[in-house]
Symmetry: C2
Subunit: 651 residues, 2 copies
């Protein structure tokens, strides 16, 4: 089973829900982020990212400013622009992007090296601090941008720049005597070089990924070697000098990947690394690395994943904790980590079609990834808590990383452009075209043309997902075409039904996908019915933070209580086991979104401030009925600051 | 109403429970800590505290080692020795103490200055960094030791040393033109000088306390002035340079005390400061400061106090958070803070007899203070959580400060000697002799002689508190004496009964004390019956961390579930509302201690590791009956590492 390489970004999204998001990205997010990269957003942390390239290109004087990985914000923006141009041509935007690309080309050194931090600030220190300084990370993002721009527009300018960069890196790194035997502190180059391999078929790029992956975590440890060599200087001091070098699990570099058994360390690094490894394992038919992927995916998905598709349960190190340690209020769950999780899941489905990967992909997309951006497209969450008590955020330092509302931009602005690029490249996630079947993972409305063995399969998906469970898939190919369509049956759905031209199809379900093999005719219509009752979700008994609590889910969407609808002190609300749910369409901000209500109970807080902290024995507690209103969690915090919680007391 | 100054440390404790603790302090803790101070405990962080004095005294060469406040460990040890000698003479121990005192005297400078850190390490930097460097804190502890040693033994040697030190401080600090207009970063000198005033009646000492209290938090801010003056050097860097100077609420120095409305900042600093202020307010009849005490006590006790008598709900800054933010697992609740809370409560009862203060004092003593020390007297908690999940402690940094078992000693060893000194000076807490009545706060077995208006009241308290609620108070004065005894009726007791010579006494209850005025005859016997049913305790509805949960209390003791009795995954245990409790005496480690059992329910965790993280809808949950065993919380973690929790799910 191998994946057909297809330009899936070129399909047309016309989904009533995610289509709006793509339009928001085009109309608001991309222009807004362009302003941000050029420091034109008042009240936001300055970026200086474009300025850095101008200085590096010698077009103006000045000092580098920003994070050591500031370049990557420009690269991610360019990638979002590339995908966006596939959706809707925009001459002005393409011209701006071409100018940025020329600027990047001008900032590239003679030997192919490209990084404004080192070029401007520390030209003699190139490649001396892989553990801390994100050079390969920035290179990776630039390579991704180059690949995307080529795939989207056919223009080779940036692709050539990044090939020169990749060739430079390939000369510097490797097992040769005069090469650096290193690998990045922050993985990203691996997944990027695999994408570059996809478009160039240059075997050196894949071999280099293999080198980076296999060198990782070996002894003597490269981070220590380079640390000694450069005189023990350290760039990051957040948790004390050289912590990033010493804390090797943080970078998944404490031992070779083949010996690692749990998802560990910085969550974004982990999923970026594994995205590259899964891609490599498939193309290299590397059974060892395939097993690494299966093993580490399993640990992550079965023991360290939030119901929201968030990963990374602690702020310190933006990192995983241990199995089943998933606090709801002190969680980190970085937006970028869930984007990386989608990327990892995509590569896993490509490696082997199993709906468990797409289930997680969908969970991450419709909950944490969408939730990372405000409905206005101009405010972003870096951290995505499942429970917030704003009063305590200001005083208790365990919440220092948590914001009760989305922010305009960040000093470390990795998340906003990452959301933009993933939302504009949904085609790669909707479809996984294996040789033997076209796997349909997500039911996002779109028109697609997908080359299959003996022709081109034209099809369109229509529906009103995730609000309604009716999905129509219509074949538009003008000539008959024999192929298998494999429809994902979501994990949240118990009684999916599929008809073909009105006749129920046989339930040939393998690894969560319903397979239909046929010579498809124009007009063939599959009707997929995914009933979406409101479902109560309960925690595994090893999840101590949700014992006695219930979460509400409908379709792929996790719901939550918010103060704006339910008042303060959400911990005093109880949802009886027997309460029924009403589903209805919201208004205003919630127009076209389905909200949920149920009859609940509220423990009275009247005079609570006058009372003692505790009271003895079972004084009859004063409780009143109260209607509980649940909103889709991704849409919380769009009405100002207030309490929020997903896991609700049940009785 | 004013307090009679009485040598309450000289009474004899013969309590079957706390008497054992005093014996443990004498036989184990004091010798153990002496070894620690002399670096003779293998596997423990070195102290070097005695060595520092030897170097400062010029008796040997070498460098200062340890915390900037290392001297205070010696002072607290000496105070514990002083009180211990009152309980049981020990010639050898007294000789050792005398030698230490001579060593301290030898380390004192000509001008009265006494601090080994500055004398050895930075003699030119005396009094240049009040905000950070604990000079007045160390001085305060030395003064307390001097007072205690004088009160306990009548020996004046250390008292004279500390009077010279106090006089030196009095010359340095004040509103005079050539004086420093400063005050300590860490309060302690205030409460110590008040004690020194008690024994010397030197008005300068009380005036100096008044100066320190009133200068605190005024503008321009002294911490900033001295920071500028010394060229912006900073001693502590835990949370970034000069954080201790900048974060003024940390030291309760953000504004004058008269304007402060909430307990804030470092919890130990807060209660140490307020202990001195309450003492000062009473003796100075200062209504403003009395109001400060009442207001800040109320905030602390009604909104920021744990059921265990712990204070300080966050690790960062070892500090208070905000009203009603009392997490059970990430709590700090330093042992020293609860000791300081007892001291504050004592001064409040002295200021105005109201049992609410003694209720908190008792709660702190029988729960957090006792819990701070292992039953072997050789291991200590610095942090006292109400819930521990050891597996997660190792991985999630929000638990970095929490230890699952008590440690042998600490680099910052403030808590162990503090526990020793409070357990040896219980007399001060048991009785509060006001002019108009003798207030009995705690029912600890003892024999006491207390001077009252027209003679000496001899009395003894017998019982088996806190295990049994029968307390006998017998008058031993050989000649009749007219006075009022005021017996505290504990907040946890609903139907206390008191008989005098077998006849029930009238219920003249004022502010929680039952008053009995009489001409007491030898042999008069009060029998106080405090029924101790097992009680369920519920949280104020504003306490979000305990919603739906119940705590178990019997008498003053808070109970908990421990893994050793109840297995892993304590969050899966439920206590039904209707379950009855069985109280029984434990065995082994729990001999003479009452344990509690109840029929509960356990959510099955069978195969949980094979299951997904969540499951949909109400699959019939597999639950089995399980007997829940509760142990007194102070005695947890004496059987190795395991889970523990106080607040249990109720259904």
């Amino acid at each position: 089973m191998s994946v057909t390489e297809v330009d899936l970004h070129k399909l047309k999204i016309n989904d009533p829900f995610l289509g709006q998001y793509q339009q928001l990205v085009r109309d608001v997010v991309i222009p807004y982020q362009w302003d941000a990269l050029n420091d034109r957003i008042p009240e936001a942390d300055p970026s200086h990212a474009i300025e850095n390239f101008r200085i590096a290109a010698g077009l103006q004087g000045g000092e580098f400013y920003g994070m050591v990985f500031q370049d990557s914000d420009v690269a991610k923006w360019l990638e979002a622009v590339a995908w966006s141009l596939c959706q809707k041509p925009d001459v002005g935007l393409e011209k701006t992007a071409d100018e940025v690309i020329e600027l990047i080309a001008a900032a590239q050194c003679e030997d192919g090296y490209l990084n404004t931090y080192f070029t401007v600030k520390a030209p003699t220190e190139r490649w001396t601090n892989l553990a801390e300084c994100h050079e390969l990370y920035c290179a990776g993002h630039m390579i991704e941008a180059g690949v995307a721009f080529f795939q989207a527009t056919g223009k080779r300018r940036l692709l050539e720049v990044v090939c020169r960069l990749a060739d430079h890196i390939d000369r510097i790194f490797g097992s040769g005597e005069n090469q650096l035997h290193g690998y990045p502190g922050h993985p990203e180059i691996e997944l990027a070089l695999m994408r570059l391999y996809d478009v160039t078929q240059e075997p050196r790029y894949m071999a280099l990924v293999n080198y980076f992956v296999e060198a990782r975590g070996t002894q003597p440890h490269f981070y220590d070697i380079e640390y000694e060599k450069r005189g023990k200087t350290s760039y990051w001091h957040t948790y004390g000098p050289a912590w990033m070098i010493k804390d090797k699990p943080y970078s998944q570099a404490h031992e070779p990947l083949s010996r690692q058994t749990v998802a560990i360390g910085h969550a974004v690094r982990f999923v970026y690394l594994m995205t590259g490894v899964a891609h490599l394992a498939r193309l290299n038919q590397d059974e060892g690395k395939r097993q690494d992927c299966l093993r580490l995916w399993k640990n992550m998905a079965q023991r360290q994943l939030y119901i929201t598709g968030g990963i990374g349960s602690q702020s310190s190190g933006e990192a995983f904790s241990c199995d089943y340690d998933l606090p709801n209020d002190t969680v980190y769950a970085e937006s970028c980590a869930s984007i990386g999780l989608m990327m990892f899941a995509r590569r896993m489905v490509e490696m082997e079609a199993d709906s468990q990967y797409a289930d997680v992909m969908e969970r991450a997309l419709y909950n944490t990834v969408l939730g990372g951006m405000a409905l206005d497209g101009k405010h972003f969450f870096y951290v995505n808590p499942l429970e917030v008590h704003p009063k305590s955020l200001k005083f208790n330092h365990i919440y220092d990383h948590v914001k009760p509302v989305r922010q305009r931009w960040f000093g470390c602005a990795c998340c906003p452009p990452n959301i933009a690029r993933v939302l504009t490249s949904l085609g790669h996630y909707i479809y996984t075209p294996h040789k033997d079947a076209l796997y349909i993972n997500l039911y996002v409305g779109n028109n697609a043309e997908i080359p299959v063995n003996d022709g081109t399969l034209r099809l369109r998906i229509n529906g009103n997902y995730p609000w309604q469970g009716q999905v129509k898939i219509v074949i538009d190919s003008s000539s008959p075409i024999t192929h298998t369509l494999a429809l994902r049956l979501p994990d949240w759905c118990t009684n999916a039904k599929v008809t073909l031209n009105g006749v129920e199809v046989a339930q040939d379900i393998r690894k969560g996908y319903l397979h239909i093999t046929r010579t498809w005719q124009e007009g063939d219509t599959l009707l997929l019915t995914l009933p979406m009752p409101v479902r109560r979700v309960y925690g595994n008994p090893l999840l101590r933070h949700v014992a006695g609590k219930v979460a509400i889910q409908r379709g792929p969407l996790v719901y939550c209580l918010e103060q704006a609808d339910n008042g303060e002190e959400l911990h005093n609300l109880w949802l009886p086991k027997e309460s029924d749910f009403q589903v209805f369409e919201g208004k205003g901000l919630f127009a076209h979104k389905m909200l949920i209500q149920a009859e609940g109970v509220k423990q009275s807080v009247a005079d609570a401030q006058q009372k003692t902290l505790w009271h003895y024995d079972n004084t009859p507690s004063s409780r009143q009925p109260q209607t509980l209103t649940f909103i889709p969690w991704f849409s919380w915090a769009n009405r100002g600051e207030g309490e929020m919680r997903i896991w609700v007391n049940e009785e």
